[in-house]
């Protein structure tokens, strides 16, 4: 009888531990976990599909409910600059790239917790407002102080992240995400 009660108690503790661990893991996981690394970007190859595990799906339901599946949109997230350092609010970075072959694309800066950053400029750089150079490429400045040309505000306490969205990506890109030509993100000045 004593052994049975001990066994039941251990089982109960195990179940409670599993529930606590699951809830805790959802709370402590950084936003948008589980992407596939492409260069220094992370892309979500199974978003809005049942192909991912329960933990990623639960986290995405919290952070990205209503997001489109990869065949309609690819979401690339960048948390570090090219030298591997965390992107910090108020610091100056330049994003250098070329527009993708897509129906729509955009570059947007968010707080680390995926909140919007207030800006007196445009909240995103996209096909409607991007200023291209003579070679068809762009340089977007991310900084705490408004700048002429392509500019996104990084005015935020704490870390920031950059989201690069590609809508209606070409099938060849879906087949091989590593073939994506993704923008570089370089620190190019101090912090405000």
């Amino acid at each position: 009888m004593g052994k049975f009660l001990l066994g039941a108690a251990v089982l109960l503790v195990t179940v409670m531990g599993a529930i606590t661990t699951a809830l805790f893991s959802l709370e402590i996981t950084p936003p948008l976990p589980g992407g596939v690394a492409v260069s220094n970007w992370s892309v979500f190859d199974a978003l809005a599909t049942p192909d991912a595990g329960a933990r990623r799906r639960a986290q995405w339901a919290k952070d990205a409910f209503g997001a489109l599946p990869p065949k309609r949109a690819l979401y690339f997230v960048r948390k570090v600059s090219d030298n591997g350092r965390d992107l910090e609010g108020g610091c100056r970075y330049q994003i250098v790239g070329t527009p993708p072959d897509a129906a729509w694309w955009s570059l947007t800066v968010y707080t680390e917790k995926l909140g919007a950053i207030a800006s007196e400029g445009s909240p995103s750089i996209n096909p409607d407002n991007v200023q291209l150079d003579d070679r068809g490429g762009y340089t977007v400045y991310v900084s705490g102080v408004q700048e002429p040309g392509n500019w996104l505000s990084s005015r935020s306490d704490g870390k920031i992240l950059i989201v690069y969205r590609i809508y209606e990506p070409p099938s060849r890109l879906l087949k091989d995400l590593s073939s994506a030509r993704l923008p570089a993100v370089q620190q190019s000045g101090g912090c405000a």
Binding site: A22, A48, A58, A61, D63, A64, Y110, S124
Partner: protein, 177 residues
């Protein structure tokens, strides 16, 4: 010695299974709870089931400022729904997601049938008697949300209000209360 070890090993295996099942069940519980809360919020913003809400807030995080969202909570158990996108060349998209946010059907101005109209019904429920003039869409789940993404007002683009006027999401037959 061996005879005494077996019950212990079985018990350890049972603990492992109990941990795994409880862990997964908790995650699914949270997934469902989170999604149902989002669905309720969207239905409330739209004004009820089967009503298309304009400029709906899907979530408070990671919002794309380029788009305005229109959304409609659907329940195909009571019959098919008619869903239609805008007949414009500018980029827009439509997704029918299930109750946990996973896409059951998507369309955009890039896809073959584009704006529709679509006649949507669910697996396990009777197909519509007449589908003339519609593109049939069969979903895997009977409950879900239709989400339209429309580009915000911009120069030289169709006005947002005009585009929203072209969207449609409603039961084929009025819901009986």
């Amino acid at each position: 010695m061996r005879e005494r070890l077996w019950p212990l090993l079985l018990f350890v295996a049972l603990l492992g299974i109990a941990f795994y099942v409880s862990f997964q069940a908790t995650l699914y519980y949270r997934l469902n709870r989170t999604s149902i809360a989002k669905e309720d919020s969207i239905a409330m913003q739209a004004g009820g089931l089967g009503i298309l809400g304009r400029n709906v807030t899907l979530r408070d995080k990671l919002v794309n400022p380029d788009f305005k969202y229109s959304a409609c909570v659907i329940d195909l158990r009571s019959g098919p729904y008619v869903v239609k996108g805008p007949a414009i060349d500018e980029y827009w998209s439509m997704a029918i997601i299930d109750r946990v946010g996973e896409a059951m059907f998507t369309a955009s101005n890039d896809t073959s049938h584009k704006a529709g109209p679509y006649l949507v019904y669910a697996t396990g429920y009777p197909a519509p008697e007449s589908s003339s003039g519609y593109t049939l869409v069969k979903t895997t789940e009977p409950q879900g949300i239709v989400i339209f993404r429309i580009l915000s007002n911009r120069e030289n683009r169709p006005k947002l209000g005009d585009v929203e006027d072209e969207l449609y999401c409603a039961p084929l037959r009025p819901i009986a209360f």
